[in-house]
Symmetry: C2
Subunit: 393 residues, 2 copies
């Protein structure tokens, strides 16, 4: 196992403490990152329904598609008798849902009534928990009061253990290597897809004998005028002289992520891009200086906004989010956002992707860092020249 | 644009014809593959809510996160005024949901009342439509009768146009190249992650000047005893002599997929593996011989089961599914499954991933093909020696 049984026990204890405060006598976990966090189960099986039943007391039960139960047995610490496969005939059927079967399996095990003593928490905004799955539970277990758990496990994940931080540092080393591959690969006349192939290869092979895992998001390469919007992937087009390429990628190690963004310009940057790069670097520096336990995250957002205002700029979107375990389509934890509306206070061993991303009209710029909140400030996890990267003259 | 406006118009007409038969006066589309099919919108933005409003008459309206509206304008054929960004402050908030905003935006545009004339269809089992999003709509639009559309757009997608088939043939060429990279890369002493890196690089660089897109699923490499379960990804372990490696991967081109599975054995296969390989090859051949328009898919499943029974084997899971456009985490269309419970009848230009996957105790075998139903039989899209691939003696 990657983590000690003591660590897994502490994670479950953390989840149950939160369950008690929220009045939950059971929790149904569907987010694959949360399944991995609590059980170690790791496979590309989350495109069919899966759920971990976490009662206030007693063993957890993991339900997967029948053909995936073997993978769960191989990768999780749960004893095989607590891993239950639902029959294949429930997969992708219009008038059946696997959770119809799961609910009855819980009933047969006499686990419905004890959980009805309080409320039962659901991950109402998890990616792989559909409205159909939700309604299946509503119909199958009328005696349960189903409530949103509001990212309960994700919140427990927000403070990392020493073992988790070690994995994130390895992920960051892989990330640095992948960014090196990106900067080496992006050049005038090269197809975008060939640069992306070099990045992906570096992400998976890893560095210094550390093999990489698949990142939750593919390399993103908005290029030229299209760099005024994030989240575009590569094309077959060739890079042209003068283009700026916004590269956002991550290193991943045993599902832990360290993302990083840099902007590569092919030749001298335009004045407006150089000015934007200065403003963003200034803003990011100001925020990094302020990171330490006890600081409310909205203060970071305000510092960013104040610095940008000096340059006559503003940014409506958040400047970062909590990171850690990730499965497609997101490496964020969907809890803390670094923005003025967020009331969270920084704590030691929280980890963030801190992003200066500016999407203007027909151009854009990104500069980011993966960081850990250290006892007295900040530990940058990623390490790469923090500047606009010029290639060619 | 990748497809003609006539083709997009025909797709929408197909969707509206089905909407009329199902009594829907509007449809809310959330599956990114369906968004791409109807509008061309393509970005890695589906980790935050997105929705396409398709009324029975009048223009479609696409709602995305504000920062993604630019990406939608750049990649889709929709006029910019029909692409609406919701404010950043609705992203990842516990007590707000973007669909609260979207529902009111539809109300301001006087689009709620006309849609209330019939039912409004939802993709109740789509990956990126959460119960929270569903309840947001229930609360915000009490005058709508919300019903499951039962994969309405996915069903329209099941028969491919000539232009789509051309993209799938290119995807298949990329897939063949990626499988070549897999067979070349898997060898005794090589780390699994290095083989995966070679596969990923080949998938993205493509072949013969055709650049690859990212497949919806990363290369899967269950190895040795762990090959008794599907869906495991790579590790840092090195391949060992005698191991069998089940490789499942796809080529992707402009989001269209052609998947393929082969099994590579490092040295002479065990008797039981060789016997299993013979049975699967026999079963797959028997099924391929039977494919033609007018054949019910459950007949294919029965033929497979009859052939396997001759070898004393059976397989509880489906032997394939409809393929085409895919986004993570799945390249299947979630409509037609090749199994005995499915009543669908094969039609010309349907496309499938036909899979002989056998997961035994401590070993396994997979052999598959991406196929098109041609006017008088079958067109295999992928092309790779259809056998157990032995490396080393």
């Amino acid at each position: 196992m990657l983590f000690s049984q003591e660590e897994y026990d502490a994670r479950l204890a953390g989840v149950r403490a939160r369950m008690a405060r929220q009045g939950l006598s059971a929790l149904l976990v569907t987010d694959p990152a949360n399944l991995y966090y609590l059980t170690g189960y790791n496979a590309w099986s989350f495109y069919t329904p899966q759920v971990l039943f976490v009662p206030a007391d007693g063993p957890m039960l993991l339900f997967t598609r029948e053909m995936d139960a073997g993978g769960a047995t191989r990768t999780s610490w749960l004893p095989p008798e607590n891993i239950v496969g639902y029959p294949e005939r429930y997969v992708h059927r219009p008038h059946l849902h696997p959770f119809d079967w799961v609910a009855f399996a819980l009933r047969e095990r006499h686990l419905i009534a004890p959980a009805a003593a309080g409320c039962v928490g659901l991950e109402m905004d998890s990616h792989f928990f559909s409205p159909k799955a939700y309604r299946s539970l509503v119909n199958a277990v009328p005696e349960w009061t189903l409530v949103d758990c509001f990212e309960l496990v994700n919140w427990v994940r927000s403070v990392k253990s020493p073992a988790e931080l070690e994995l994130m540092r390895q992920a960051a080393r892989i990330c640095n290597g992948a960014m090196e591959a990106a900067v080496a690969g992006i050049a005038v006349g090269v197809r975008q897809c060939d640069a992306a192939a070099a990045i992906s290869s570096a992400q998976i092979s890893g560095v210094d004998g550390i093999g990489g895992d698949y990142p939750a998001i593919v390399p993103m390469l908005p290029t030229g005028e299209a760099a005024d919007t994030p989240h575009l992937t590569w094309s077959e087009e060739r890079f042209e002289a003068g283009q700026a390429v916004v590269v956002e990628l991550a290193g991943a190690y045993h599902r832990y992520h360290a993302p990083l963004a840099r902007t590569v310009v092919l030749g001298p940057p335009s004045d407006r891009l150089a000015k934007l790069a200065d403003a963003v670097a200034d803003g990011l520096d100001a925020v990094l200086t302020e990171v330490q336990p006890g600081v409310p995250v909205h203060e970071l957002a305000r510092t960013w906004n104040r610095t940008l205002a000096k340059y006559g700029l503003e940014k409506p979107s958040r400047i970062g989010y909590s990171i850690g375990i990730g499965y497609p389509p997101d490496w964020g934890e969907r809890t803390i956002s670094l923005r003025s509306e967020d009331e969270t206070v920084l704590a030691e061993n929280m980890t963030f992707h801190l992003i200066g991303g500016m999407w203007m009209d027909n151009y854009g710029y990104e500069l980011s860092e993966s960081i850990r909140v250290s006892p007295d400030g900040v530990e940058p996890l990623t390490s790469f020249p923090r500047e606009l990267l010029q290639k060619g003259s």
